[in-house]
Symmetry: C2
Subunit: 437 residues, 2 copies
């Protein structure tokens, strides 16, 4: 993509309304634009990141055997009356009346609607277990929306719902999501730690939050130092096998949010305890028959008797993750994207747009990157080197290739890694090779 034909409204100044670093950087990097309180439009650069985050979430849900569906945003109030949550939910629920005076709402979550779909389709224990998920916009009418996409009103969420015949099956479904979540966040370059959590308005008796570590995180967390060495992606997992050993291993290490942490009762010695800041990015629940009983989601068991299915629900804040990743991955100059979610892999800078030799060399390099399938943002604008360098650092692509007249005379380009700032001179061919692998 040529920057001269792109839509990237960068801001030079820090916007005063932004209190946290991800909000500031997303506005400055032209990723989002607020349309009203807590509601954002995703501009091209931000949308690319959102898509990549969404795709990683999707791949790991699929790998764990969940089936993708798509439920609508607008739901009928009747369903929520069946579960008893319509009145309970309070003002966070955006209530709507349609032209025929029917009561509707913008879904803040989907337990009721998925239970309705399930009970309309599944009648026999032979069709269990199932896990259905979707990635859809939700709305929660927060009193004071703030922190950009970290606490917006309209937000993109992945929510999965499992259906099992008994508690043992439900625990296996829970374990699948538990493992899939750790893999999902690890693939985004994040260190996510599962912490035992309260179940709140969703209900049930088993629940974990997934909290990623970020220096500028919203809350204090404590965990065993050994967590930082855990290699989730390096662990071979068979989703069809017994996952309880993984669950036990990954919940055996101490980890607690500030509210749950009691220094006096903490089993970990002080020198083994990490005190850090974290951001919640996922939450999983096993709530048994809380919805299936009132909503009559039953199957006939092997002996013909009716059995209310055991359910769980599993959420990931997809749009929130974009902000959370920035909280975990930035420096003074801007964002530092992990490669798996970077909007482009490399930023190509032509130092002198007016110089024909530079332009020819940069155009040529750009074509070769495109031909090799490398995602590249090419700064071909007629701007000063300083403006281009700071723009590229701000938007935080993992690699930068700088083409200028002095280098060209020597037959080299400059190759910079955004994460460590390391610069190397190398031939264009060598740079191309490095980026194509």
């Amino acid at each position: 993509m040529r920057l001269s034909a792109y839509f990237l409204p960068l801001l030079r100044e820090n916007p005063t309304e932004a209190q946290i670093v991800s909000h500031r950087l997303m506005l400055r990097a032209g990723m989002v634009r607020q349309s009203s309180a807590g509601i954002y439009s995703w501009l091209p650069l931000g949308f690319r990141v959102l898509q990549k985050v969404e795709q990683i979430v999707r791949e790991e849900q699929d790998a764990a055997g969940a089936l993708e569906v798509l439920m609508p945003t607008i739901q009928p109030a009747e369903l929520w009356r069946e579960s008893g949550r319509y009145e309970d939910y309070g003002k966070e629920m955006l209530r709507i009346t349609d032209r025929h005076e029917r009561e509707m709402l913008y879904g803040p979550t989907n337990e009721e609607l998925i239970t309705d779909i399930f009970r309309g389709a599944v009648k026999s224990y032979r069709d269990l277990p199932r896990n259905l998920y979707h990635i859809q916009w939700k709305f929660r009418d927060e009193v004071r929306p703030r922190f950009g996409v970290m606490r917006g009103r309209e937000f993109l969420m992945k929510d999965a719902y499992s259906f099992d015949l008994d508690a043992k099956g439900a625990k296996h479904s829970y374990n699948k999501m538990f493992v899939a979540y750790l893999r999902t966040f690890a693939r985004m370059g994040l260190k996510a730690i599962p912490m035992r959590a309260d179940t709140g308005p969703i209900g049930g008796d088993l629940s974990h939050e997934f909290i990623i570590l970020a220096e500028t995180g919203e809350s204090a967390v404590f965990c065993d130092k050994a967590w930082l060495q855990t290699d989730v992606l390096g662990t071979d997992v068979d989703f069809n096998g017994d996952l309880e050993p993984f669950f036990k291993k990954w919940t055996s290490l101490y980890a607690a949010t500030e509210e749950m942490h009691d220094p006096k009762a903490c089993p970990v010695p002080e020198d083994q305890l990490v005190s850090a800041r974290g951001i919640e990015v996922g939450h999983i629940f096993n709530f048994g028959t809380k919805y299936s009983k009132p909503m009559k989601a039953v199957v006939s068991g092997p002996d013909g008797a009716e059995i209310a299915v055991e359910m769980g629900s599993y959420g990931i804040g997809v749009s929130r993750l974009v902000g959370a990743i920035i909280e975990a991955c930035h420096d003074d100059a801007g964002i530092v994207w992990p490669e798996s979610v970077a909007p482009f892999k490399v930023g190509l800078i032509n130092l002198r747009a007016g110089d024909e030799k530079c332009r020819t060399a940069a155009d040529d390099f750009y074509k070769k990157l495109n031909a090799a399938g490398v995602e590249v943002l090419y700064d071909d604008r007629d701007e000063s080197p300083g403006v281009k360098f700071s723009a590229m650092d701000l938007i935080g692509l993992p690699y930068q290739v700088v083409i200028g007249p002095r280098g060209l005379d020597k037959g080299v380009v400059e190759f910079k890694s955004r994460r460590d700032g390391k610069r190397e001179e190398m031939s264009p061919e060598a740079a191309l090779n490095r980026l194509s692998t």
Copy 2:
């Protein structure tokens, strides 16, 4: 995907609420389920088709140089007051009041919001032209929603918005979308014909509807027989070059909706005129400064003077297309998917799930298809051959491979093409070869 682990609630009977064939077949094939009037959940099979349609739309928008963004579903009423459409829009607009009594609405279209984004970001003629598009759920509160996803209330739409400095540039942007639309529908196996249209509430003076031919289409259309021979995908188009010749060529052939067609004034001789039925799947508009003037979307021109930008908007009904494709592609036994949008490429039927030899052979063939990257739905259920054949015909995958005891004794499987019903016996290797290419 194994059918025994899938979520595919097929219906044997025609649902009484469905008046048109696509609605009937989508319900019977377990593609969607209504959650309230005109609002649907997309079940796994339907969601796969929706995703494929969406991806073709996306690829052709990208190829034409449009940039993808994502605007929210909920918009502030103020923006619509600026354009003057808030009061005009009537009861089709779903109006919402949030907890702070602010007036909001569920976007039925996005001219106002995109204009607001544009004016906040672009100040100079040097940043033109631009075309921004998104694929997002919209809501129109129809009085009588019906015909399934063809006329739902919550629907998925691709809408693009072009911004140009002058009328000539705007026409070029219009031509790009005109060509991209013809390519988009052709890739879905549809014959789409552009027809000059009224601009209605969107405004402007140049507009085309894209109508696909379908025997069971909603309205009568007339066109020059030569249209049926037009090969859009075989025409090499350079989106950076002059597109006016393509526009002229593809609008020179007679085509008109029933309302616009006057048999007495028709320039095409009777034996050259095709009378058919059609479905509107896209609509493009060039409306000049209708929104940019009241909303002050201006850039400074080469001489420093303020110029209101020339705009156009371009819609494709993405969820509607899924129904429209079925209207165009079905027979008495069910859906007949064009390969590019089929949920799976092939349905694999094991005729005797209880027979070990059959199961081993079918499992093996299934593994090989997966390894070759061929999307396959494997009917491994313990059901009668008749049930399996009719289910597979109903969901309409392009190819079927049937593995049964008699064939295995001869070392062959049956290969069936859904479109023409042709059956051939061949070795498993030959079938695999045929499907992998």
